[in-house]
């Protein structure tokens, strides 16, 4: 990291371009996975009477798999407008946490408009790679990843609505782990460096598995988005109490 920082300083002029290009590169596997996931979302949206153009616009500007899934299922139920807002709030509340974490990732001179635009780019995956960016976050990196992944997310939804299931399920199955592969690549290096992170990650795996497999939790029928929020808050708070960070560990 130290070395790459020096390199960045030397190549100050090409920095802007390279951060964007780096974002495009890291956004590529995200885009691949998005297309596969959005395709199946589109298939579901079609059953909920959405047109291809509605699917495209909804996906392009929302970019939230669980949230869109929830809202599209309400379209067909002819639910009230208030309940659509509540559904969007609950299924996407984790973005509030993610954006809060990102506030600490900006250099102090980052203008408000760029902060807001980065905020609009937040998805699980874009957040994941942005927070892993060495040093302060260069907004162009996030924009690069956004500009390749968002069109494919929207196109995937639209194609899914138009075509139904044409991609072989085996290909969809393989592509759908692309996102998780990236998550793994983000959480493992810091786990190797910091034992506290390693233990927090292991605890997350364990508790997440337990919430899906213990009968009395399954019976409560809590959405996976809510489970993610609750576990994130509980485990991160526990880790922060047990092992608070020292200034050296910070960005």
């Amino acid at each position: 990291m130290g070395q790459s920082r020096t390199v960045v300083k030397i190549m100050e002029k090409s920095k802007k371009k390279s951060a964007y290009a780096k974002g495009l590169r890291d956004g590529f596997p995200i885009a691949m996975g998005y297309f596969a996931v959005a395709f199946s979302l589109g298939f579901m949206a079609k059953k909920c009477t959405l047109t291809p153009i509605q699917g495209f616009i909804g996906s392009f500007f929302t970019r939230a798999s669980a949230g869109e899934y929830g809202v599209y299922s309400m379209v067909v139920q002819d639910a009230g407008y208030i309940s659509v807002v509540v559904m969007s709030l609950i299924t996407n509340l984790r973005y509030l946490l993610m954006s809060t974490a990102l506030t600490q990732k900006f250099s102090p001179d980052t203008p408000l408009l760029k902060r807001i635009l980065v905020g609009c780019c937040v998805t699980d995956e874009i957040f994941g790679i942005s927070i892993a960016y060495p040093g302060y976050l260069d907004p162009r990196y996030t924009f690069g990843a956004f500009s390749i992944s968002t069109p494919l997310w929207a196109l995937g939804t639209m194609t899914g609505i138009i075509a139904g299931s044409v991609l072989p399920t085996r290909a969809v199955s393989a592509l759908s782990v692309a996102l998780y592969g990236m998550f793994i690549a983000i959480i493992i290096p810091p786990s190797k460096k910091d034992r506290a992170v390693c233990i927090a990650v292991a605890a997350s795996f364990l508790l997440s598995w337990l919430t899906r497999n213990l009968d009395y939790i399954r019976q409560l029928n809590i959405s996976s988005g809510t489970i993610t929020i609750v576990l994130t808050i509980v485990i991160s708070a526990a880790a922060a109490i047990i092992k608070p960070i020292t200034p050296a560990e910070e960005v």
């Binding site: 590529f28 600490q104 290909a171 880790a239």
Partner: protein, 101 residues
């Protein structure tokens, strides 16, 4: 009463993006509180870990292929491979294994 699909979509877009923007407009400086700083330090890793497992086993046709992709992905990342290679390796593991399972 018949609701408009476009209004549903508009509400969804507005709500989802407002959630994303609020913290970034309200919190502009460094947070001083040590607990909160530590909390935010752990949040990304915890949240990604929670979302990865066991979901990776539910995303694939065969849960065993997902589990294998997770383990091989962890090994690959441990030895320093980046986002894209780890991602491709995981896809290949699933694609190849599902020939046999």
């Amino acid at each position: 009463m018949q609701h408009s699909t476009w209004i549903y979509i508009l509400l969804m877009i507005l709500t989802t993006n407002i959630i994303r923007i609020i913290p970034l407009t309200l919190i502009r400086g460094q947070i001083k509180n040590r607990f909160f700083r530590s909390f935010l330090y752990y949040v990304p890793y915890v949240t990604l870990a929670v979302m990865t497992f066991p979901a990776i086993m539910e995303a694939t046709n065969s849960p065993a292929a997902g589990a294998a992709a997770l383990m091989i992905g962890i090994i690959a990342a441990w030895f320093g491979l980046g986002l894209f290679p780890v991602s491709v390796i995981c896809c290949m593991v699933v694609f190849v294994l599902e020939f046999f399972i």
